[in-house]
């Protein structure tokens, strides 16, 4: 619970302390995001720039693989928009605590609002600005640091493409997606997305990933409504 009696600096450092386990948990992904960017042709500065400005793990890996696959500018932007759309829900839930703050405080909260910060904030029922900033900034700086480590590792290894590092994206995504499949609707959605993605990509259809993903989502909702699955 957030304690109104504790001072702001105290809440700041408490937030930073609480998010450390989550920082360690994303260490491999940060290193992966950095090394993957370099191995797919981003310059070291651009690779770190992704983490500094975009600051969204899955979205960064997706951007890197779509750029490497030669996807178009609009297709990449649309995909990232849809992929990061779960943040709309996070903001919706934090809204009652954050929307009363002035803009100069709302914007930093929004920028730092990752899956991890949301999970921590809701888990600890701590929504005060100092706590969110402490946790968010600690996580942000860790993420950038891990990315730099990944960039340095990748830059010191020649012929990185020969190592088939791109499979680690598939392995990571599978490990994230499989536990999400708890109902028939999500299973159908994922299968439709997979089959369409394979088909459309093999036919070199522009925007294949977005089309496959969106149609998968539509089918999932269709199945959920047909079976009367609860929210």
């Amino acid at each position: 619970m957030s304690d109104p009696l504790s001072s702001s600096p105290q809440r700041f450092w408490l937030g930073a302390l609480h998010i450390i386990p989550l920082c360690l948990a994303v260490l491999p992904w940060g290193v992966l995001a950095g090394s993957m960017a370099v191995s797919q042709g981003f310059t070291p500065l651009q690779s770190v720039g992704l983490s500094v400005f975009v600051f969204a793990g899955a979205a960064q890996l997706v951007t890197i693989s779509m750029v490497a696959a030669g996807s178009g500018f609009i297709a990449i932007c649309l995909t990232i928009f849809v992929i990061t759309a779960q943040h709309l829900l996070y903001a919706l839930i934090l809204r009652e605590h954050v929307s009363s703050l002035p803009l100069r405080k709302r914007l930093p909260v929004a920028f730092l609002l990752t899956d991890e910060l949301f999970a921590l904030s809701v888990g600890k029922r701590s929504y005060d600005f100092a706590y969110l900033m402490g946790a968010g900034l600690c996580f942000y700086l860790s993420w950038i640091f891990f990315t730099i480590v990944g960039v340095l590792l990748a830059a010191s290894v020649p012929n990185l493409a020969d190592y088939h590092l791109d499979f680690s994206i598939v392995a990571t995504f599978i490990a994230i997606v499989v536990p999400m499949i708890k109902r028939l609707s999500s299973l159908v959605g994922v299968l439709v997305a997979l089959i369409l993605s394979l088909l459309l990509n093999s036919l070199a259809v522009a925007g294949a990933i977005v089309i496959a993903g969106l149609l998968g989502m539509l089918c999932a909702v269709g199945v959920a409504r047909w079976r009367g699955e609860g929210p």
Partner: protein, 103 residues
């Protein structure tokens, strides 16, 4: 071009993170959108794996592609091993073993 993409994407992500924190916005997402957002992560992450699995060999190459079998192994790992990092690690070991065996 890459830098332009990075800045536009930064704007897109910040838009999603900020929009519903804006106090002047009356909030009412249609049920259908709200419901389909629940599926955005699994469906899109899966769709992104498509071109990586295809590689250079295309649809016909799927049955002789180590990526296909390693992906099946990864699904098995994710079902059995509840720890995500460990599951990724085991499937990567499996992938490189397969790559070595299939030459």
């Amino acid at each position: 071009m890459i830098w332009l993409l990075i800045f536009v994407l930064a704007g897109v992500v910040l838009f999603n993170r900020y929009l519903l924190l804006e106090p002047r916005l009356p909030i009412r997402l249609p049920d259908f959108i709200r419901q389909s957002l629940q599926y955005s992560a699994p469906c899109l992450l899966t769709a992104i794996c498509g071109p990586i699995l295809l590689g250079d060999s295309g649809l016909n190459g799927l049955t002789s592609n180590p990526y296909t079998y390693a992906a099946l192994l990864s699904i098995g790992c994710a079902l059995v091993i509840k720890n995500m990092l460990l599951s990724v690690l085991v499937s990567l070991v499996g992938f490189y073993t397969l790559l070595y065996m299939m030459g």
